[in-house]
Symmetry: D2
Subunit: 354 residues, 4 copies
């Protein structure tokens, strides 16, 4: 085992920068190369972190045998082909969420990782957030009894990202708010509940507010300014009901809606108590005893979840330890997303077979 | 046509008292008789309103040929048999919500009303609330464009009524929070949207918090104190997704849950704007123009909706005018409730055929 | 000591009814007489509780030597003369809040009670609410450290009571929202803090929204319908800052304001933690330890505080025990109210000398 | 008049960077020099904007006769001496808020600007925010009638900045949350109300939560990490009541408090309506007509208020037009702050003489 694992990053946008920051804080990793189709973005990131190689061609990274691991931080449609290339080049891979455009691609990636005996971790970064661990433990230890229903909400008033760009182009993103935001919540729910098996989902997806990109009123827009000549063929509003072999799960999400309500939370309803988690940090525990109702909330400084994710990735890659972000743990939520989109398209409940 | 229509009330609980108050304010009606299986309740209501006949046997009212109309204000399981008896005795009937225990009973009541050429109105009292009319008009006039999704929430932290009594006994009530509270919201949505045709529903119903009546912690309890020896076999939590030939509809409801959240509202999402109604009064209209986002809320004094409901019932009964509370307008929501319970019991989406 | 203390109630409005209910649940009391200037109100209350004497002249009650205690439940301007009469007739008195129209009257009542060696309790009913006791204990035991600031808010959007009637007529009420609602909060703060000595207050009082009674828009109105020919010469909005020999105290109140905000709460800010109490029941405790911030809320079923108030009154009257509602504990808040109105009238801070 | 006004910035921290960005977007200005006591900060900012001169000595900028205007973006204690130096060197000055440590310094600066016939603008940037202009117009046009009371709240749960550094050292900052956050709100209120004359203030200021810097629990901290060996001798909590020749004004503010409440808003209470402004953007207008209560909210994309502030400064400096940010408009709020601190220190209301 080398003193440090040399690492490359493919894709130097905002999330690529966060990975770079993580590697710089990881004692066992050395960021050795960065790639972006726009050379100036690769060069800027390289300059910032003192990285030796900046290239417009990610295959330059894969061709370097001294590099042991890579982060894939490109748009969703490139996750599958680049991850496959990296695995075939013998690299361990940390691929950003969502896994890919759909379950078929995801399974191909999973199979390739197994075949090559490489770690393929997915960027389900909330699994490395302190409060999530505390919630998971509270549930596992029976503090809220048997969980019979879960609900998650990821809604904003006006928050379509990069309207007209790759985020809103289905061929590049795989979908809208469900695959972009919903995937985080779904993964959290599955993680905290210890992996119930999804069975069927009934969902609806609406793409209404940005049919004419020019007429979409907004207050701010992340992921770049709107492109009036671009495409928006993905949903900005979803609602659904999921059945599992454990609790039932209801969800609603909106990148945008004509109601001024911004809500990001998860509720776990148990027969002895309940938990409501604010997405991003903190949760309230509801219990009762002898007829008195209690609420308890603890808030701790946010740990650096991105750093912990990177440290865990490098540790598991180096030692062969099992990773909590291994693609096999994330396949179920990709299966739900595929089934959700099929349900929304066909207007009926869809069974999930894995 | 007599100077005034003589009226009887069957069932002298809280809602029976409200009907009595309504008739006393209706110029064309005269409250002539009241019945309750508990004679002292009938007598008290009679004394309060100066009513000639107080009886423990509702058939005494039906046998009086001078009485032209009756209100049925008894527990849900009695709605169908008493309404059928009243129609057969030639009375116009205002039957409280829900119509009955299930759609089969409801259709039987509808058929009998047609056969006897009597008015059978249901107590969908929100249809007589001023702000509901304003919302309905706002939607009909296109102010929020095409409505593509509707959502209604009827949730409380600790609010199971009369635990152990008829409210929580399925054979007497037909169900829990869905048939008791949900029916009001469902009717409002159908009324405001101009009657879309329901097609399929996927729902879940949970009965968890009062499995042991003694252990249920609560802050207050309406509809009587808990009966620790009574029955609770109805759901206190529901969630569902309804497909119609118009908008999709999501809903969640709780008489009780282990999350301290009391929310009672309806959202109409349109492509040009949105409406969020606080249940009971007032709504906010969300629109945008030239890139600026607007919110507008109007709140008017609550009209006496119960009085207006009674006045409308008597007016339609006397003149033969169509009633907006006619049972035929309420059958679709009863059909949804039946399908919802079937979906919850079978764990799969259920198609609705009317 | 007689088996039961015979009691009379003077004033048979809503609050008089609540006292009657309390006495009926008090094992050591027997409600023997009720008086109201409107004979039908006295008779109705007497009928409901099986009371022997119903009279339009309260002096009939005072003249009955078998009656040992009375409740004074009349409008504020009658508190002082009726209480003095009752004390002089040798009765123990439970007088509703506020003590009287002003501090001068209050001191006269206090002096008379001392002279006659009778108990004069004031209807500071929140002192008999379970959660208040828990808060008081949490503060006394040092859980939030030293309290340096307290804030209380009693605001509604549209809630002027009985507009045009005695509530809004200064000569009959002594003032508006400050003396009617503020007095409850002020008493709670003083009680929970263990009686700090008030030193100075700077306040403002505004009477703006009902200058023309006909034009005041409202949603509902308690304490009777508006009287367009009546008087409104009291404030509906207040704000103030109170200095004591302990914590500083800020407050704001509104029977009505042109902002849709209904807030009723008290905040205790300590150097080790804080408490926010929802008026009426429940409070949240904020603390921190080792860098983690905690919130804890406990909610218990509302105890019957009016019953407990009555039981305590009768117990102290019979046994001579000290009462937590004794007028001497309530004089400081009356002193603050007097100084507040003086500050508002003169536009400058007013020192409080007791 | 030169084609462009050459400009220098003194102080290259976060706010200095915002000024640099503003000048770079101002057609009539050219950023020619930057100074910071830490040379690397000056150099970084110069590099980013292609500025010719980066210096550790601000007097280098003042000595350059080609430079016509400067921004003073240093800690509060340096505002006065550096502004005086700049005015004496013949520069127009845009000095960040607050004006200075106290009113005495502020008046000296005002006098020097008059003597030198230079523009001295203060960084009251909210005066350049679109929604503020809309509110000011709504008030001026009588939409809410006569404003009788105003209230502003600027509170956070855990938000002391740079604990132990200059922000919390009175000799360098002049005070805590009142002079840092309160000054913005006070200026907004005075601006929107058209400049009422302050007359007296009664206030309290508490410095409790960071007496031991090591024990202060927080979630995040802006303006740099805590310095456990530093000083914290400023207040983190304030409350006060201000009298003017127009409306009364109440306020409360907290950098930190043991209550989890983050609120930043201003309320204008008028006899015909009300306004509640969310600090930073958007406001709701409350009115009523014919007994119906209305609320209206408009939200527009945030204009670049810092750019508009800079553009206005340069325009007024070049043309001699009156500036809405001229120090003379900001002196009244500095007078209030001085009187507030005096009131808090002496425990009594303080008259304001200007």
């Amino acid at each position: 085992m080398p003193a440090k694992t040399k690492v490359g990053i493919i894709g130097c946008g905002a999330i690529g920068g966060i990975h770079a920051d993580g590697y710089s804080k990881c004692a066992d990793a050395e960021l050795a190369a960065v790639a972006d189709i726009l050379p100036e973005k690769a060069e800027a990131l390289a300059a910032q972190h003192g990285v030796g190689l900046a290239t417009a061609n990610y295959k330059d990274i894969l061709a370097d045998p001294s590099i042991g691991a890579v982060s894939v931080c490109t748009p969703n449609d490139l996750h599958c082909p680049m991850t496959l290339d990296a695995l075939r080049a013998g690299k361990h891979v940390l691929c950003e969420k969502p896994i890919a455009l759909n379950l078929t691609q995801a399974k191909k990636m999973h199979a390739e990782a197994k075949r090559r005996e490489r770690l393929l971790a997915i960027g389900v970064v909330n699994r490395f957030n302190t409060y999530v661990e505390l919630m998971k433990e509270a549930i596992a230890s029976g503090q809220i009894g048997e969980v019979y229903h879960t609900r998650f909400v990821f809604k904003n008033y006006r928050c379509i990202p990069g309207l007209g760009g790759w985020f809103t182009t289905k061929a590049r993103s795989g979908g809208g708010v469900m695959i972009d935001w919903g995937v985080h919540f779904l993964d959290l729910v599955f993680y905290c509940l210890g992996g119930p098996k999804p069975q069927a989902v009934s969902g609806v997806a609406h793409a209404q507010l940005a049919r004419d990109i020019r007429k979409y009123a907004y207050l701010d827009m992340w992921a770049g300014p709107p492109d009036p000549k671009g495409t928006c063929d993905v949903e900005e509003y979803v609602s659904g009901l999921l059945r599992t072999d454990g609790p039932t799960v209801a969800f609603e999400g909106a990148w945008a809606q004509n109601i001024d309500d911004t809500s990001m939370f998860i509720e776990f309803l148990g027969d002895k108590g309940g938990i409501r988690a604010d997405y991003g940090g903190g949760f309230t525990l509801y219990t009762d005893k002898d007829g008195v109702l209690y609420q308890r909330k603890a808030t701790a400084p946010a740990r650096e979840m991105y750093v912990d994710e990177i440290v865990s990735f490098i540790d598991c890659a180096r030692t062969g330890k099992a990773s909590r972000a291994d693609i096999e743990h994330v396949l179920p939520s990709q299966a739900v997303i595929d089934a959700f989109y099929k349900s929304a398209a066909t207007g009926r409940e869809v069974k999930i077979r894995q």
